[in-house]
C-alpha cells in the first residue's frame, strides 16, 4: 500500500501546484494586481492566530463535516451531491427544536437534543432521495440536487413565516438561547467545539471503514456492486441505503453545528455553497476521511482568504468557486478517479 500513498501525495501536490497557477491566472485575467491579492489571501487565512483559528478553522468545520458526508456516500458508490440541502435541513431542524426548547433544559442536554434534531433532519432529507433511488430507480445526482433547491426554499419560507422574529421585520428567527450555543475552545476565539467533533468524526469514520466488517462491506459495494452481490452475498441495497442515510445525517449534523456554533440563528444563504465545495474537498482527499481534514482546512483557508481578497483587493467572491471546480477537473485529468466512484452503482 505504500507506493499508493506516495502516489496520492504526489497527486495532491501536483493538483495544488496546478490550482495555484490557475488561480493566479484567474486573478490576473480579472484585471486585479496579483501580489496585493495574494497578500490579502494569505493575511485572511493564515496571517494571524485570529485569521487561522477564527476564520480558516471556523469555515473548515462545515467543509470537513460535509466532505466526510460526501466521502462516505461516494465510497459506497452513492453520488450524494445533496450535502447543501441536507445541511439546510439540519440547520432548519436544529433551529426549530432549539427555539422550542429555549432555555428549559440544562446546557449539555439541550445542545445534545438540538444537534440530534439537526442530524435527524439531514438524514430525513437524504432519506427522500434514498427512497426514490431504492424504490423508483431515480438517479440520486438529480434527486439530491432538486432537494437542494427545495431545502433552500424551505429555509426562505421558515425565516419569513413560522420562525420569523416577533416584530416580523427581519427575515430571520430570534437568536438561539445561550444555553444552546456551542462552547468556544478559548475565550478570545470564534472556534467552537464543533471543530473537535469534526476531527473526531473523521477519525471515527476512518476506523470504521478500515477495520470493521460494516466498513468493508461499504467499500466492496462501492468498488463493484455486482461483484459484491454475487461473490460476497452482500445486501447491496441495504448498504447503499445505510450509507446514503449516514451521509445525510453527517451533513445535517454539519448544519446543526453551524447554527449552534457560529451563526446562532437561521437565515437565507446560511451556507455559501459549502455543500458543493465539499465535493471538491472530498475528491481532492481521494475520499479518505483523514485526508479530508487537510483538504477541508485548505478550502477553509481559501474561503477565508477569498473573503479577505474580495474585501481588500476587490477580487470577485466567485474566486473560490472557480478554484473548487478546477480542483475537481485537475483531479479527474490527472487520475480519472478510478473505480471508487460511480461504477459501483447499478
Amino acid at each position: 500500500m505504500r507506493p499508493r500513498a506516495t502516489h496520492d501525495i504526489v497527486l495532491a501536490s501536483a493538483v495544488l501546484v496546478a490550482i495555484t497557477g490557475l488561480a493566479l491566472g484567474v486573478i490576473a485575467i480579472g484585471g486585479h494586481p496579483v501580489l496585493p491579492a495574494l497578500a490579502a489571501l494569505l493575511r485572511g487565512s493564515f496571517g494571524s492566530p485570529f485569521a487561522f483559528f477564527s476564520a480558516t478553522l471556523v469555515r473548515a468545520t462545515p467543509l470537513i463535516l460535509l466532505g466526510l458526508a460526501v466521502g462516505l456516500a461516494f465510497r459506497a458508490g452513492v453520488l450524494n451531491i445533496g450535502g447543501e440541502g441536507q445541511f439546510h435541513a439540519g440547520a432548519c431542524a436544529a433551529v426549530t427544536v432549539g427555539l422550542a426548547l429555549g432555555g428549559s433544559l440544562p446546557r449539555p442536554l439541550s445542545i445534545l437534543v438540538t444537534v440530534a434534531a439537526g442530524t435527524a433532519g439531514g438524514a430525513l432529507w437524504a432519506g427522500i432521495a434514498a427512497i426514490l433511488k431504492r424504490s423508483f430507480g431515480v438517479l440520486e445526482v438529480i434527486s439530491t440536487l432538486m432537494l437542494n433547491f427545495v431545502a433552500a426554499l424551505a429555509v426562505s419560507f421558515l425565516v419569513r413565516g413560522p420562525l420569523q422574529e416577533p416584530t416580523h421585520v427581519y427575515p430571520y428567527p430570534p437568536a438561539l438561547n445561550p444555553s444552546l450555543q456551542l462552547p468556544t475552545l478559548a475565550a478570545d476565539t470564534r472556534l467552537h467545539i464543533g471543530f473537535l467533533a469534526a476531527l473526531g468524526l473523521a477519525f471515527g469514520l476512518w476506523w470504521v471503514l478500515r477495520t470493521t466488517a460494516r466498513g468493508f462491506r461499504l467499500r466492496v459495494v462501492g468498488a463493484g456492486a455486482a461483484a459484491a452481490r454475487s461473490a460476497g452475498r452482500v445486501d447491496v441495497t441495504g448498504v447503499v441505503t445505510a450509507a446514503f442515510l449516514a451521509s445525510g445525517a453527517i451533513a445535517g449534523f454539519a448544519g446543526a453545528v453551524e447554527v449552534t456554533g457560529v451563526t446562532h440563528r437561521l437565515f437565507e444563504g446560511i451556507s455559501p455553497g459549502y455543500g458543493y465545495s465539499a465535493i471538491a474537498v472530498a475528491l481532492l482527499a481521494r475520499l479518505h476521511p483523514l485526508a479530508i481534514i487537510g483538504t477541508g482546512i485548505f478550502f477553509g483557508a481559501l474561503e477565508a482568504g477569498g473573503a479577505a481578497m474580495q474585501r481588500d483587493a476587490g477580487v470577485p467572491a466567485q474566486f473560490a468557486l472557480i478554484v473548487e471546480a478546477l480542483v475537481v477537473l485537475c483531479v479527474l485529468a490527472i487520475d480519472r478517479l478510478g473505480p471508487r466512484t460511480s461504477e459501483g452503482t447499478q
Partner: protein, 303 residues
C-alpha cells in the same frame, strides 16, 4: 389579458429556455452521455449573449451564446470522451465552473467597470389570425423568434433522429456502443458531436433568458434549469415532441406563481417556486420504465 391567458402566455415563455436545454440534452443522452454540466452551458450562453450583444446586437448575442455554450461543452467532451472521466463528477465541476466564471467575469467586466449589463430584447412576432384564438393564441403565436424557432426545431429533430442515417448512428451509440463501433461508427466522434450540439442548445437556452426575457444578465440566472432539463428529457421519454410537451408542463408549473398572485391565493410563494423541482422528482420516479432510456446512458466509455 385574463389571468388564465397570462398564465398560458407565461407557461410558454418559461418553457422556452427549458425546451432548448432539454432538446439538446435529449441528443446528448441518446448518445449515452448524461450531461450534468448543462447548467454551466446555459449560464455561459447567457453571459455570451450579454457580451455578444455589445458587439452586434441581438444577432451578436445569439452567436455569442451559441459559441459560449459550445466552448463549455467542448471542455466537457475533452474530459468525458477524451479522458473517459466520470460523467457525473465532470458535469458537476463544469456546472460549478460555469457559474463561478460567469459570475467573476460579469463582476470584472460589468459591475466593477461600471458598464450597465442590459441588452435589447427580441421583439414579439405574432401571426394575425392565430393570435386571436382565445387564451392559447397569444400564448403560442405571439412570442419572440426564439420560441417560434422551437416549432421547427422539435419536429426537425424528430425527423433527423428517426429518419436519417446520422440519427440512427446516434441512437446506436446510445444503445449499444460496441455494436455501433463494429458497424463502422466511431462512438467517440458521435458522442463529441452530440455533446457540442447539446452545448449549442444550452447556449441558446441562456440566450433566451437574456435576449427574450430578462434583457440583462444576473449571476446564477440559470437557476437550476440545466438540472430540470435533465428531468424534462426523462418525462418526455427521450423523444423530441415528448420533450417539448414536457417542457411546456414544467413551464406551466413555473408559471403557477404568477397565476397564484393574480388569483390572490394565499399560499407562500416558496411553495410555487418549488413546484418545478418537486415535479422533477415525481417525473423521474414515474419515468422508471427503463426500456425507454438509452441503454448505455451514463456508462463510462470503455472502448
Amino acid at each position: 389579458m385574463s389571468a388564465l391567458g397570462a398564465f398560458a402566455e407565461s407557461s410558454v415563455r418559461m418553457a422556452t429556455p427549458l425546451a432548448y436545454a432539454a432538446l439538446g440534452e435529449l441528443v446528448v443522452e441518446r448518445a449515452g452521455i448524461i450531461n450534468i454540466g448543462l447548467e454551466g452551458m446555459i449560464i455561459a450562453g447567457a453571459f455570451g449573449a450579454l457580451a455578444g450583444t455589445g458587439f452586434a446586437g441581438v444577432a451578436g448575442g445569439l452567436a455569442g451564446a451559441a459559441m459560449s455554450g459550445v466552448l463549455v461543452a467542448g471542455l466537457f467532451a475533452i474530459f468525458v470522451v477524451g479522458l473517459r472521466s466520470d460523467q457525473i463528477i465532470t458535469g458537476t465541476a463544469i456546472s460549478l465552473l460555469g457559474l463561478g466564471l460567469t459570475g467573476a467575469l460579469y463582476q470584472a467586466m460589468y459591475v466593477d467597470a461600471g458598464v450597465i449589463g442590459r441588452t435589447t430584447t427580441m421583439g414579439v412576432w405574432s401571426l394575425p389570425l392565430l393570435r386571436s384564438i382565445p387564451i392559447l393564441g397569444p400564448a403560442f403565436f405571439a412570442q419572440p423568434a426564439l420560441t417560434w424557432a422551437l416549432y421547427a426545431i422539435a419536429p426537425a429533430l424528430g425527423w433527423w433522429l428517426y429518419r436519417t442515417p446520422a440519427g440512427l448512428a446516434l441512437r446506436a451509440v446510445g444503445e449499444r456502443p460496441a455494436a455501433a463501433a463494429a458497424a463502422g461508427i466511431s462512438p467517440s466522434r458521435v458522442r463529441t458531436f452530440a455533446i457540442l450540439f447539446g452545448g449549442l442548445m444550452g447556449g441558446l437556452s441562456g440566450a433566451t433568458l437574456v435576449l427574450a426575457q430578462v434583457g440583462g444578465f444576473a449571476e446564477g440566472m440559470s437557476a437550476g434549469r440545466g438540472f430540470i432539463a435533465i428531468a424534462v428529457v426523462a418525462l418526455g421519454r427521450w423523444t423530441p415532441l415528448g420533450v417539448w410537451l414536457a417542457a411546456l408542463l414544467f413551464g406551466a408549473a413555473s408559471a403557477l406563481q404568477f397565476l397564484a398572485q393574480a388569483m390572490g391565493w394565499s399560499v407562500p410563494y416558496q411553495v410555487w417556486l418549488s413546484t418545478p423541482y418537486v415535479l422533477t422528482l415525481l417525473a423521474l420516479a414515474g419515468a422508471r420504465r427503463r426500456s425507454v432510456a438509452p441503454a448505455a446512458l451514463g456508462a463510462r466509455a470503455t472502448e
